[in-house]
């Protein structure tokens, strides 16, 4: 799939407390999580982000807690893809499970407000503001299958259906 939008740039080690602070975890509704997405990293994020925009970060994005509220908050904000130099393990897994795309790439040349065009199939990231192209690491085969199936729950439903046949 191809997505285009602008960059919201963050640094290294953006932890899940910054993505969705624990004080909001008493309500797991998408609306609540969307409203407070990235609040402790950039308090204005939820008012500025538009559907299709990208979160771009440095190393170890999503470190810390296992809260799935973090990728849900990002997805509910309309962000289709997070691009970072590297991701923490549980965040990575949660994102694929809920159908949020995650791309590992060199993000040094991407700055706040840059317009990107991202092809999740080829991993090609075009920076239209700077006229550069970066290639993301290929998504592992199993993970790609999982996202293409629509996430882990869709995959589970399919499994039940096949079992019952």
């Amino acid at each position: 799939m191809i997505f285009s939008g602008k960059v919201f740039k963050f640094g290294d080690n953006i932890d899940t407390d910054a993505i969705i602070p624990a004080r909001y975890l008493n309500d797991s509704s998408e609306e609540n999580l969307r409203k407070h997405c990235m609040e402790d990293a950039d308090a204005t994020f939820s008012s500025k982000v538009s559907k299709g925009d990208f979160i771009v970060a440095g190393n170890n994005f999503g470190c810390g807690s296992s809260r799935e509220h973090a990728p849900i908050a990002i997805k509910a904000s309309g962000v289709p893809v997070v691009i970072a130099k590297s991701f923490a393990r549980i965040f990575y897994r949660n994102s694929f499970n809920i159908g949020l795309f995650i791309l590992e790439a060199d993000t040094d040349g991407m700055d706040n407000g840059d317009m990107l065009e991202v092809d999740t199939d080829t991993g090609e990231i075009k920076n239209k503001t700077k006229n550069t192209v970066v290639k993301a690491k290929p998504i592992p085969k199993f993970m790609a299958e999982l996202v293409n199936a629509g996430g882990l729950i869709a995959y589970a439903k399919k499994k039940i259906k096949e079992g019952k046949k």
Binding site: D17, A18, R23, S66, E68
Partner: protein, 424 residues
């Protein structure tokens, strides 16, 4: 003989149909315990219902521990706890812990013998890795993963590479598991073991108890690790016997098993550690931390990292007959009801209260900035918990310093970051 395996590879292999496994393999692993709490289980329950399977895979192999915002901190938290309770009732979940029996999940489940050596445990909580201390493969997953495990009793896992971490020698006075793990994270960084299993070994662990192993495994995730495991031995056996209600297996790494890295540390030269805001990798020796004259507003002793009875005993030893600094707070949170009761019997609660501290009912509370000790803007805490991210314990401008309970106790007395030798 096949390829020699690490303890982690062996446990994973034994929970699959494969004859052998290697790092990088993606396997479907059978789980012995699938764990959720009052924050992560509600999403899992919704997703479980979406799967539409109707029945959980095994009512005995699910653990539900409402601990984060329980006793309910507000109406919304009460609703989440209620949802978990209703689910537990509906499926007659054996290891559901109601308020009076519940404590911080990762202290509670080993204490109750719910998780055992050789188990494969998945939990929708990142500190599920704590159970590695028992010689189990235990890892944090998300709520959707947990829903899948509730339904099928298995989950996809990538077999991790292992890093062997060897600590040799006797620790100095007051130096504990917390200091070793903060020191390690300081050396390898918060991403130093990303996607990998840490395997701890060495003579140091003959000098320390189970509680130190729990602390170390608990913080494996703070180096990004998938798990943090110890080979079980007689110390493990002493802890487990009397608690276990089912069989368990001690696995050991094979001679010649492959490691991505082997790290050797001389414990005798490691000092008390304090991790500065806002990452657990910012650890420095106590002498350096103390010399900076860092004033603190609050000291927290509790959590799945350091809320066990051994931790409270150490803190009480330092606080006995002393008062905490004026205008500062000391919050002690025994991690489970049993620990609370022991502390009461041993007179520790009196010591804390006489010193001017408060003792809370078991809960995660301030550890994740829930309640029971939230920081105002610009306030500073020293804490025996495991994370010091920005805003973790309250306002986004507040600060958390991580240390062991002895340092937290000494700092409470002086109102500044200090080592135990400065007060006893």
């Amino acid at each position: 003989m096949g390829r020699p395996l690490t303890i982690t590879e062996k446990i994973i292999q034994s929970h699959t149909d494969a004859n052998t496994v290697a790092p990088g393999d993606i396997v479907n692993a059978r789980v012995d315990i699938a764990l959720g709490n009052d924050i992560t289980a509600p999403i899992a329950i919704k997703e479980f219902e979406a799967i539409g399977i109707g029945e959980v895979f095994d009512r005995k192999k699910i653990a539900l521990v409402p601990d984060h915002f329980v006793p309910n901190k507000d109406i919304l938290s009460a609703k989440q706890a209620k949802m978990v309770r209703e689910f537990a009732k509906k499926f007659d979940i054996e290891n559901y812990f109601e308020c009076g029996e519940a404590g911080v999940e990762h202290a509670l489940l080993p204490e109750k013998g719910v998780v055992l050596p050789g188990d494969l445990v998945v939990g929708a909580d990142s500190h599920t890795c704590t159970y590695g201390a028992l010689g189990a493969f235990a890892t944090g997953v998300g709520s959707t993963d947990l829903a899948y495990a509730f339904a099928f009793g298995e989950l996809w896992l990538k077999v991790p590479e292992s890093i062997k971490v060897i600590f040799e020698g006797k620790p100095k006075k007051w130096v504990s598991g917390k200091d070793l793990v903060l020191y390690l994270i300081g050396k390898i960084g918060v991403e130093g073991a990303n996607y990998m299993a840490l395997e701890f070994a060495g003579s140091t662990f003959k000098h320390l108890g189970m509680s130190d192993r729990f602390t170390i495994s608990n913080m494996a995730i703070e180096a990004g690790a998938k798990s943090g495991i110890f080979e079980p031995d007689e110390i493990t056996e002493d802890y487990v016997k009397g608690r276990a209600k089912r069989d368990y297996i001690f696995y050991k790494s094979d001679e010649g098993a492959e490691y991505a890295k082997v790290l050797n540390f001389n414990t005798e030269s490691i000092n008390l550690q304090v991790a500065f805001p806002h990452l657990p990798e910012n650890s420095v020796d106590i002498s350096e931390a103390s010399s900076k004259n860092i004033k603190i507003d609050q000291s927290v002793i509790g959590s799945c990292t350091n809320g066990r009875i051994e931790d409270l005993r150490i803190a009480a030893e330092i606080l006995k007959g002393k008062k905490i600094a004026k205008y500062s707070r000391l919050i002690v949170i025994p991690a489970t009801p049993d620990i609370y009761r022991m502390a009461e019997k041993e007179g520790l609660i009196d010591i804390f209260m006489d010193a001017g501290g408060i003792v809370s009912t078991p809960t995660c509370g301030p550890c994740l900035g829930g309640y029971m000790g939230i920081l105002a803007d610009g306030e500073r805490a020293i804490s025996s918990t495991n994370r010091n991210f920005k805003g973790r314990m309250g306002d986004v401008t507040s600060e958390v310093y991580l240390a062991n309970p002895a340092v937290c106790a000494a700092s409470a007395i002086l109102g500044k970051i200090a080592g135990p030798d400065e007060v006893v």
